[in-house]
């Protein structure tokens, strides 16, 4: 290092100090690893003939720094008695919508056991929403899906264009995506639409759909998957149960319940009726073993492969989180910041 350079470095440090607002100047400049010591180490690189002069310059710098730093008016917060009770100043932060939070959690839970998340059209053919799911036109089972139709002409193979009433349109689509080659472990999360509106229904809502197809898949695996999800999503001790139901696209079909976190599936608390559930359990959605006709629609041999599927509303599933107490799901789509900021 030349003397020239050293001088310029010294000037730089002095310059820096004049406008420095750091809270701990002493440490920064004169501490063990401070700027002064860093520069002082450079003296070993100075030419022997200049060493004396370099030492003088450095000593001068040190005393100047001492004076300046000591002279700083004592108004730095570090030197003050801090009032620890004063409220902190939070940065302005936003929030993920609760539905996003639930989706992310659900995706992660199923991701750990090998499910791949997918996304399929929300405006889809009748074929994928109903027909390929063993629900021919005019079938009474369609009544439960209050369907919105899009004002477009019908396609002779694919039928009308509809707003997806459930995420089950992903079933045959996923089989097609994987060229009818199991194994399949799909999780499809999407917006769904039905012509209904009340405290527990909004015209738009979200569902997640699980689909597993492989050799030797049976009901015990569906139960295992549901129990796993219940534990992960609602906490240890939560159980699931399946009860008989009917869907055209699964056989057997089930209704899925999760045990109430409040009374743990007993329906009673200290002998009195639990206020949070219907007799110990919460209904969350449907499930079943994939109907052979649906496997066939997806090009999969139902003699060789079996599978299960389940589909539930995100809003309902999320609203049952212990202690959340969300009883009107319309709030989720109210855009009310007082509500959304709580999540």
């Amino acid at each position: 290092m030349t003397l020239e350079k050293l001088k310029s470095a010294i000037d730089k440090i002095k310059q820096q100090l004049t406008s420095d607002r750091a809270s701990d100047l002493r440490n920064k400049y004169l501490g063990k690893k401070g700027l002064f010591n860093q520069l002082a180490q450079e003296i070993k690189n100075v030419d022997v003939k200049d060493k004396k002069e370099a030492g003088r310059l450095l000593n001068q710098l040190k005393s100047q720094l001492e004076i300046k730093i000591t002279d700083q008016p004592i108004n730095r917060s570090t030197d003050q008695q801090i009032d620890l009770t004063i409220p902190g100043l939070k940065p302005a932060i936003g929030h993920l919508h609760p539905v996003s939070q639930a989706m992310e959690e659900i995706t992660n839970i199923f991701g750990k056991i090998g499910f791949t998340r997918v996304r399929y059209p929300e405006v889809d053919w009748d074929h994928y929403v109903f027909e390929s799911l063993n629900m021919p036109k005019n079938h009474p089972a369609r009544d439960e899906w209050e369907t919105f139709f899009i004002d477009l002409p019908e396609n002779k193979d694919m039928g009308k264009v509809v707003l997806t009433t459930h995420t089950s349109n992903g079933q045959v689509r996923e089989m097609e995506r994987l060229k009818s080659q199991p194994p399949i472990r799909m999780i499809n999360i999407a917006r769904c639409y039905r012509r209904q509106q009340d405290v527990t229904h909004t015209q738009m809502f979200h569902q997640f759909e699980g689909l597993v197809i492989d050799k030797n898949i049976n009901i015990t695996h569906l139960k295992g998957t549901l129990d796993y999800f219940a534990r992960e999503f609602y906490g240890p001790g939560t159980k699931s149960r399946i009860r008989p139901f009917h869907f055209q696209f699964t056989e057997p079909s089930f209704e899925v319940d999760f045990s109430c976190h409040n009374c743990h599936g007993t329906g009673k608390i200290h002998g009195a009726k639990c206020r949070f559930c219907k007799s110990g359990w919460h209904e969350v959605g449907g499930a079943g073993m994939v109907h052979p006709n649906v496997l066939r629609a997806g090009g999969i041999d139902s003699e060789q492969y079996t599978g299960f599927a389940f589909g539930w509303g995100i809003e309902r599933t999320y609203s049952l989180k212990p202690g959340l107490n969300l009883d009107d799901i319309r709030l989720l789509y109210s855009n009310d910041l007082r509500f959304l900021k709580q999540f």
Partner: protein, 652 residues
């Protein structure tokens, strides 16, 4: 469909000591779900959900039959009563009046049975029956009408009471045909309809419609206050035909909702007998004809072959063949067990009872075995086997989450707004109404068009939250393009549904844009001119709307590492008084281009028209000296003066 069943009524068909709570719990686990137990008229009344495939359970007897199969699985004795009380005595006055002439078409009506009951007194409904009808939320009329509702509820097959004399006056003919288009009829409650063609109707000799069978009676033949003689008639119209007429005219009676689901025609025999008995007992009626019965073809469910291995395949456990047989027999199936030659494989041949047309293929039978065996008795385990690795293209949910979390962390609230919008909102996005997908059957006026932009929806958030002084929101959601000229009619192409990321904020522009640039930094996206995606809104907000696919194709999971410079940089500030026409972004780009040694140009400060820029110079080949820097700086100043007509503040 839900059905209400009072406990004592159930016990008329079920011998059991089970309590209502036990019945609720165990039926719900293995059969129809008993959602609630009400206390009505001092008795437990079950509210039971019956699924659409199990119309055989849509009656008191149907539920009793399920209970008789299920309760013993839990060690509780239960037996279905024998139907002896349903056989009416027919000896009184048989054949004293002529039956109408019935012209059937077996393709439209699988069975038809009727009987004449004369001297029907329109007595008040007795208390015991009125109470039960109240318990099931049915209206009370008089006995001659309420009997039909009562037997439908008890046995599950609808029936209709015609005014016999009215019917005979119109010609005494029942012709079962499909209606032509444009024929008129009036239902018994006085409402008029015009046929669309294809509805199955009863017509008289003159071709007038005299009944909408299995759905609702018509005014011209139905019972009224002057009725003396009744023709009690039960028919089995093809389910699809019932559904078609019922849905077309929105006449959703209990009868229609049952008959469209394939009620077993065999039920007609016990139902008509029970009906006769009640008319005899409650209305003092006498039987005035034989029981007419036209049942051309009794198509019972076909036998189903089922290998024991397939049962294990679905249930995951071995169940003894004896147990399986017992379960199926409890459900009134006939079971034959064959041992397949030279293999120790059992094959079952299962013949379902006539009331179970829903049992068609092997898995239907497996469901019956599994539910009665008890799903709760099956183990619970996560499947092993290979994990599929083929991820979908064009989606990256991790990246979406990363963007969402980042935006939330820097102060943006995520919004989920409706995909369907009002006409006003649709147009606010800058598209004509015709350029939108439209819902054919909207539920409300504010949700008719599928949106093409998220901006109007997010702008609404600002008006909905007037107390939020500073507000920044975002949403990631699909939008929907119209189908185009050819549409989806010929091509199998769906309307496109691009996913958009939209930010709206009332921050100042530099901060707003900076937020988005910071997001791009997070996603390692460099050198992307996003100005064209910015919109200035009329509520003092800025919006930025961009197709997620555009971000996705540019985003990276990690940066391209740039080697750290081995030489020192020189950083200096230059302030120019900018000509008001100058676009700062263009000026800065031009400065960067002056020399390769200029590695960074940033806007540091603005004061009036004075803009201070920080420039960093690095020469990778050696430390720059002040001497070397001077010509570059001069070049910058000269370029700014000449090209942008803006002067440097101070001198170089």
């Amino acid at each position: 469909m839900n059905i209400l069943i009072p406990h004592q009524w159930l016990l008329e068909h079920l011998e059991t000591k089970a309590t209502p709570e036990q019945i609720q719990k165990y039926l719900s686990l293995c059969g129809p779900s008993i959602e609630r137990i009400y206390d009505k008229e001092g008795e437990s009344v079950y509210d039971i959900e019956i699924t659409t495939n199990r119309v055989d359970s849509m009656s008191v007897r149907g539920v009793a039959r399920e209970a008789a199969a299920i309760l013993p699985q839990f060690g509780i004795g239960a037996k279905l009563t024998v139907e002896t009380r349903l056989i009416a005595s027919l000896h009184d006055n048989a054949k004293s009046r002529p039956l109408p002439q019935i012209i059937n078409n077996p393709k439209l009506c699988r069975r038809l049975s009727c009987v004449i009951l004369q001297n029907v007194h329109q007595n008040p409904t007795p208390n015991w029956m009125a109470n039960r009808l109240k318990q099931i939320d049915a209206n009370i009329h008089d006995a001659s009408i309420d009997i039909t509702n009562y037997i439908t509820h008890e046995l599950g097959h609808p029936c209709h009471a015609f005014d016999y004399d009215k019917l005979m006056k119109t010609g005494g003919v029942i012709n079962i045909v499909e209606a032509k288009k444009g024929e008129q009829f009036q239902t018994l409650d006085g409402e008029s309809f015009v046929t669309v063609g294809g509805e199955v109707v009863f017509k008289n000799k003159q071709g007038e419609i005299i009944d909408l069978p299995s759905i609702k009676g018509t005014a011209n033949t139905s019972v009224d206050a002057h009725t003396k003689n009744i023709l009690l008639l039960l028919e089995s119209i093809t389910a699809e035909k019932v559904r078609f007429a019922s849905m077309t005219h929105a006449i959703r009676t209990t009868a229609a909702q049952l008959m469209e689901k394939n009620v077993d025609p065999h039920l007609i025999t016990p139902t008509i007998h029970f009906g006769i008995k009640l008319y005899q007992d409650l209305c003092g009626a006498q039987v005035a004809s034989e029981i007419y019965d036209d049942f051309p073809e009794s198509n019972k469910p076909a036998p189903i072959k089922l290998d024991l291995t397939k049962i294990k395949n679905y249930l995951g456990v071995d169940i003894e063949v004896e147990k399986i047989t017992a379960i199926l027999e409890a459900l009134e199936c006939k079971v034959l067990v064959n041992k397949v030659k030279k293999q120790s494989v059992y094959r079952l041949i299962v013949t379902p009872p006539s009331f179970r047309p829903d049992l068609k293929i092997p898995v239907d039978v497996i469901e019956e075995i599994a539910r009665i065996y008890g799903y709760h008795n099956l183990p619970s385990q996560i499947m092993d086997g290979p994990i599929p690795l083929q991820k979908p293209e064009n989606s990256n949910f991790e990246l979406e989450n990363k963007a969402k979390h980042f935006l939330a962390a820097i102060g943006y609230q995520e919004i989920y707004s409706y995909s369907m919008v009002s006409a006003v909102l649709a147009q606010e996005a800058g598209y004509k109404l015709a350029e939108h997908l439209k819902i054919q059957n909207p539920l409300t006026d504010d949700r008719v068009y599928l949106r093409r932009s998220l901006i109007p929806s997010l702008q609404e958030v600002f008006t909905q939250n007037p107390l939020e002084k500073t507000l920044s929101v975002f949403e990631i959601a699909s939008t929907y393009l119209p189908a185009g000229e050819a549409g989806c009619l010929h091509k199998k192409e769906l309307p496109q549904q691009p996913l958009l990321l939209t930010l709206v904020s009332n921050k100042n522009y530099r901060e707003f844009k900076g937020d988005f640039m910071a997001l791009l930094d997070q996603l390692f996206i460099k050198n992307w001119d996003i100005n064209k995606y910015v919109k200035i809104l009329d509520n003092n907000c800025y919006a930025l709307e961009i197709e997620w696919a555009e971000i996705l194709k540019r985003a990276k999971t990690h940066p391209n590492y740039q080697p750290l410079p081995k030489t020192n940089s020189i950083v200096e500030d230059l302030t120019f008084t900018l000509n008001p026409q100058v676009k700062v972004g263009e000026l800065m780009a031009a400065i960067s281009r002056v020399s390769q040694l200029i590695t960074r140009v940033e806007l540091k400060d603005i004061y009036g028209q004075n803009y201070t820029f920080t420039l960093e110079y690095i020469d990778p080949n050696g430390n720059l000296s002040a001497k070397q820097l001077l010509p570059i700086r001069q070049k910058v100043v000269k370029m700014v003066e000449e090209k942008f007509r803006s002067e440097l503040v101070g001198r170089i």
